[in-house]
């Protein structure tokens, strides 16, 4: 039973993602052409709410959750990896018109053609693991 909450959380995330239209290929193409505010509004307001909740949790960590604080550590800072990896990821995001979350939504929606980019995502992941040590981080 302790696992069911993660399925529910994923369902919640997917539900909102679909209702926001962020899973739409058309919306991503529109966003990268700067033809609408829609996607920027979603990301901006999501981060706003996320940041405020993290701030609240930080305060709660000092009072309510003193014994078992919520882990708010950031990912390790790697300038080159974040920038170069980010550029490559962004390129892929624009060419597929979907990022990883929406890729799974397309599969659930029955858009089987998306299996092709998904297999290539796994291949790309393999390449990173394989050549990780020779890349600047």
């Amino acid at each position: 039973m302790k696992w069911i909450k993660f399925v529910i959380a994923g369902f919640y995330f997917g539900f909102i993602l679909i209702k926001s239209e962020a899973i739409s290929w058309y919306r991503i193409v529109e966003m990268f052409h700067f033809q609408s505010f829609h996607m920027f509004g979603i990301i901006g307001s999501a981060v706003g709410v996320g940041a405020i909740s993290v701030l609240v949790i930080k305060k709660l960590n000092q009072s309510v959750f003193k014994t078992q604080p919520i882990d708010l550590t950031k990912k390790p800072f790697q300038l080159k990896a974040h920038l170069l990896g980010g550029l490559i990821f962004g390129l892929g995001w624009s060419l597929v018109g979907a990022c990883p979350g929406p890729l799974f939504v397309h599969l659930g929606a029955g858009n089987t053609i998306i299996l092709i980019p998904v297999l290539f995502v796994i291949l790309g992941t393999y390449f990173y693991g394989r050549f990780k040590d020779s890349l600047p981080h």
Binding site: G10, F15, V49, P76, L83, G90
Partner: protein, 179 residues
């Protein structure tokens, strides 16, 4: 029924999307991200000769279950409820019309078909970049743009700037000439 069938405006869906961050932090002390699941696929496929894929999958089951829920939501909303899509901006509609792309659902399936062509090459190469880039950057849109920026992480900000520069370049230099 309308509330379920119609999309929600960004100022409703955006904040609700951001709520995923405290939801997972408070319920299970987890920071969410989607793309790491592809690393777990490599781990499950037993690519253990590569150190990057050699770890105990048990600690990451939650991430896989999150994806299961995500796929369920798509089956429910897009196959069963059949949620409608909102109206794109005039500029975007003009763009798609000029390239004879029909606006239908969430993907132009008449354009992305199971026949070999430049569209298939484009999404294959794109997928490769998504997999490689998200691992190199140590996160994707969910892990960096939503979770990372919410944590005010400088690294995530750099990654997100990279996402958008890469995305704009890919759109204007490649996508526009292929569609």
């Amino acid at each position: 029924m309308e509330v379920i069938q119609n999309p929600w405006p960004w100022y409703v869906s955006g904040p609700l999307l951001g709520m995923t961050v405290p939801l997972l932090l408070l319920s299970s002390n987890k920071k969410f991200g989607v793309s790491s699941v592809f690393r777990h696929v490599g781990c499950a496929l037993n690519w253990k000769k590569i150190e990057y894929f050699n770890y105990d999958l048990k600690n990451h089951i939650w991430n896989l279950l999150f994806i299961v829920g995500l796929i369920f939501s798509a089956v429910f909303l897009l196959q069963w409820v059949e949620v409608k899509q909102g109206v794109l901006s005039d500029a975007a509609q003009l763009y798609f019309n000029s390239r004879s792309i029909l606006i239908e659902g969430i993907l132009p399936i008449s354009r992305f078909t199971w026949t070999f062509g430049k569209e298939i090459l484009m999404i294959s190469f794109g997928g490769l970049c998504i997999g490689f880039g998200s691992r190199y950057a140590n996160g994707c849109t969910s892990g960096h743009a939503i979770t990372g920026l919410s944590l005010l992480s400088l690294g995530s900000l750099i990654a997100v700037i990279g996402f958008f520069i890469g995305g704009v370049l890919g759109t204007f230099l490649i996508l526009d000439s292929i569609l």
